[in-house]
């Protein structure tokens, strides 16, 4: 796959961030096909930040329309999260519940982490350290494009996923799932 950057939003971005993004895009393994006149970039120093845990985020399309459901490309859900669609079905009354995007992400200790199973709906996760009663204290921001929908402080445990009821779409609904990976 040859990534082709989508730069439609760049006019909104300040110069410093733009340069950072360009630098990273330029460092990607596949060739980047943006404008010929892009400035040359230096390889960035890499250092792995400390992490507190690992989370799995999923974008789910829930629908009663078999045609819509069948038309969605699905992703292969890791075995440890395979029961999530069935559990979602107990909360959201839809006939078809499919994971259409997923993201397994380290939760960084000192930096924000992003869980992005799609560019349209994603989460910003800030670690506030382990919770006394188990799990992780997290600050979560649920974003839709450039708008934050909700901010919450929560304890996320490996036993209990967090289900977020997202917007309606094509007669169904988009759902977002966040799970703390066991033993992470």
């Amino acid at each position: 796959m040859k990534p082709v950057p989508a730069f439609s939003m760049l006019s909104l971005i300040r110069r410093s961030t733009l340069l950072a993004g360009l630098a990273l895009l330029a460092s990607l393994s596949a060739p980047v096909a943006h404008g010929q006149g892009s400035p040359p970039v230096q390889p960035l120093p890499s250092k792995k930040p400390d992490t507190d845990a690992k989370v799995w985020g999923a974008l789910v399309f829930a629908s009663n329309d078999p045609k819509e459901a069948a038309s969605m490309p699905k992703v292969d859900v890791p075995a440890e999260f395979a029961d999530i669609p069935q559990r979602l079905g107990k909360v959201f009354p839809y006939k078809h519940i499919d994971v259409i995007g997923q993201h397994l992400q380290d939760v960084f200790r000192e930096y924000e982490s992003w869980v992005v199973p799609t560019k349209d709906l994603f989460l910003k996760v800030d670690s506030k350290g382990p919770a006394k009663e188990g799990g992780m204290n997290l600050h979560l921001q649920f974003w839709r494009d450039q708008q934050v929908i909700v901010k919450t402080d929560a304890v996320l445990t490996a036993e209990t996923p967090l289900f977020i009821a997202g917007p309606k779409w094509r007669g169904g609904q988009l759902l977002f799932v966040l799970v703390l990976q066991k033993g992470s």
């Binding site: 950057p5 730069f7 909360v91 982490s113 799990g135 929908i149 304890v155 209990t160 967090l162 289900f163």
Partner: protein
């Protein structure tokens, strides 16, 4: 509104409200009266079809939320917190312990910050939400614990629908690498292709650069 006695008989026969002797007499009438027999047969079919197609019990959508909303409204109505009657004593208290997790009240807010009063569940192993902030006045957020799904649910009512013509494509990201120097994260798929870069602009708005197609 009166109905003829013979119609009462047909009704009572149909609904099993007759004594054995009455039923026997009515069965004899049916055998002798083909028109009555046809009427009775049609009534029986109608009854059976009604029972088949109108279930006495339906699964309540968002069943756990249904309960927690009622609990929330009850607690709003009560100036004092609910008190278990003293007469119930320890036995009553013990018998009710299995219900404890149901006591997690849902909290609904619109446009603002709410710090939730309820503490962590007794077991300590459930995800729970301390506080919710919703900037948009049209959106109502609420949270509750679903016993059925063993999940914590954050409901967001009033969200603007995604346009049907919007193509929403899911990623399949297996890792994200953070670069501290530029505070940006590159997201990779299972084949180690870079799928997107995400960072923040000066107003702390997310900036997402994606490759296309997404997967």
């Amino acid at each position: 509104m009166k109905t003829p006695p013979e119609d009462h008989d047909l009704l009572r026969w149909l609904d099993g409200e007759m004594s054995a002797a009455e039923r026997e007499r009515f069965d004899a009438r049916l055998a002798a009266d083909p028109a009555l027999k046809a009427e009775a047969g049609m009534m029986q079919r109608l009854s059976a079809d009604l029972r088949t197609h109108l279930p006495a019990e339906l699964p309540v959508p968002y069943g756990d939320f249904f309960n927690s909303q009622i609990q929330r409204r009850l607690s709003q109505e009560q100036e004092q917190p609910a008190q278990v009657p003293a007469a119930a004593g320890w036995l009553g208290w013990l018998r009710l312990q299995w219900l404890a997790p149901l006591g997690l009240a849902a909290v609904v807010i619109a446009a603002g910050l709410t710090t939730l009063k309820q503490g962590a569940p007794a077991g300590g192993s459930d995800t729970y939400v301390h506080s919710i902030y919703v900037p948009n006045t049209a959106v109502h957020a609420s949270t509750y614990h679903s016993m059925d799904a063993k999940a914590t649910v954050l409901m967001l009512d009033g969200l603007e629908e995604m346009p049907a013509d919007r193509k929403i494509v899911g990623f399949n990201i297996t890792r994200g690498e953070m670069d501290e120097a530029v505070a940006a994260t590159t997201l990779f798929d299972a084949e180690d292709n870079a799928v997107a870069v995400i960072s923040k602009d000066a107003r702390s708005q997310p900036v997402l650069l994606t490759s296309s197609p997404a997967r």
